[in-house]
């Protein structure tokens, strides 16, 4: 039952991760002169879409390891903020928590924070774990397929990666219904629009996450001080 529920919830990720993973795998074997298994190995250990695509160009340029660390850290810095909203959720998961944290991609984060939850914490945690694992399996399969097929990839799957955009739209609607408030959605959308207009492509995502987080923190402070001053006038 748990497996079926988790599989159903991760289907859109399957449609997104297989083609994206394949794109990375093809890039890996056509741009670099390394054995094909390097691609699925990176999918298993690094497990970051944009990060691995950046890694291909860093590998091609024989980049120094310190620069590699800095580049990968900066590119994935948005994940610093994702964890903040999952601190309570992962509590008590023991060792499994390490894997839940390791597997926290954009897509897994989206599913875990949006899905409806029952009171049964143990079952819910097992579903969280399955979702995380299934997503990584799709990703690694995609990486391996792309690396093995290489240039021979023939079927026309142009546009299938839109599944991820569609997933994010659906999850935004679900978040809106769950929160019953549109304010955070406007904050995120406006921050993204602003950063798309003002920043180069490689900084847009992290820029938007920082602007969004800071705005939510500031509005929290403003609301709080407004409450305090109201209490002061009333008292």
């Amino acid at each position: 039952m748990i497996n079926r529920v988790s599989f159903q919830q991760t289907l859109p990720i399957l449609f997104g991760y297989i083609p994206l993973g394949m794109a990375f795998g093809v890039l890996f074997v056509t741009q670099l002169d390394y054995p094909w298994w390097g691609a699925p190995l990176m999918g298993i250990t690094i497990y970051a879409g944009a990060g691995q695509i950046l890694a291909v160009s860093l590998l091609a340029a024989h980049t120094g390891l310190l620069e590699v660390f800095i580049a990968m850290f900066v590119l994935n810095a948005r994940h610093l903020f994702y964890g903040l909203s999952l601190l309570g959720r992962f509590k008590g998961a023991g060792l499994r928590k390490l894997y839940l944290i390791f597997g926290l991609t954009d897509e897994t984060y989206s599913l875990l924070t949006s899905r409806p939850r029952s009171e049964d914490a143990d079952t819910e945690r097992r579903i969280d774990l399955r979702i995380t694992l299934f997503n990584q399996v799709y990703w690694v399969i995609g990486c391996a397929m792309g690396a093995l097929l290489g240039r021979a990839v023939a079927f026309d799957s142009t546009g299938i990666e839109f599944a991820l955009v569609a997933l994010f739209i659906v999850l935004t609607i679900e978040q809106y219904k769950a929160l019953n408030a549109s304010f955070p959605i406007w904050v995120g959308a406006l921050a993204a629009g602003l950063c798309m207009a003002a920043l180069p492509a490689e900084h847009q995502l992290i820029g938007a996450v920082i602007v969004t987080t800071v705005t939510l923190l500031v509005t929290y402070r403003l609301n709080k001080s407004a409450q305090t001053s109201q209490e002061a006038t009333n008292g």
């Binding site: 590699v68 309570g88 926290l104 546009g159 739209i169 935004t172 995120g188 959308a189 993204a192 798309m196």
Partner: protein
């Protein structure tokens, strides 16, 4: 063939850097999950991040110059929104939207 040791060292470093970005909040704020500020972020940040991802990936999926003006990405997105408010079946909304986008891109 290039040096395999470089590849393995590279993968180790990249793995460490990526994991660091994911684990740092849990290491530094793990004890404060009940703090009202963290709870506020926990409630509102996912919704905001989801909207942010929509805008960024949507803008990158479309052709925004004349004569299309983004219709190639906006039409499938409106289909997803409409279907989802109507039936609230995530898989249906996503498959229909993706099929619509693929049909337009492959025309």
């Amino acid at each position: 063939m290039d040096n395999i040791n470089y590849l393995l060292a590279f993968i180790a470093v990249a793995t460490l850097a990526t994991f660091a970005t994911r684990v740092i909040p849990f290491v530094f704020f793990g004890g404060h999950s009940e703090h009202p500020l963290i709870r506020h972020l926990g409630r509102q940040l996912p919704a905001a991040v989801m909207a942010l991802l929509v805008v960024i990936f949507l803008l990158r999926s479309g052709e925004w110059s004349a004569p299309v003006f983004g219709a190639d990405a906006l039409l499938p997105s409106l289909l997803v929104v409409g279907l989802h408010f109507w039936r609230r079946n995530a898989l249906l909304s996503i498959i229909a939207g993706t099929a619509c986008y693929m049909a337009i891109q492959q025309m």
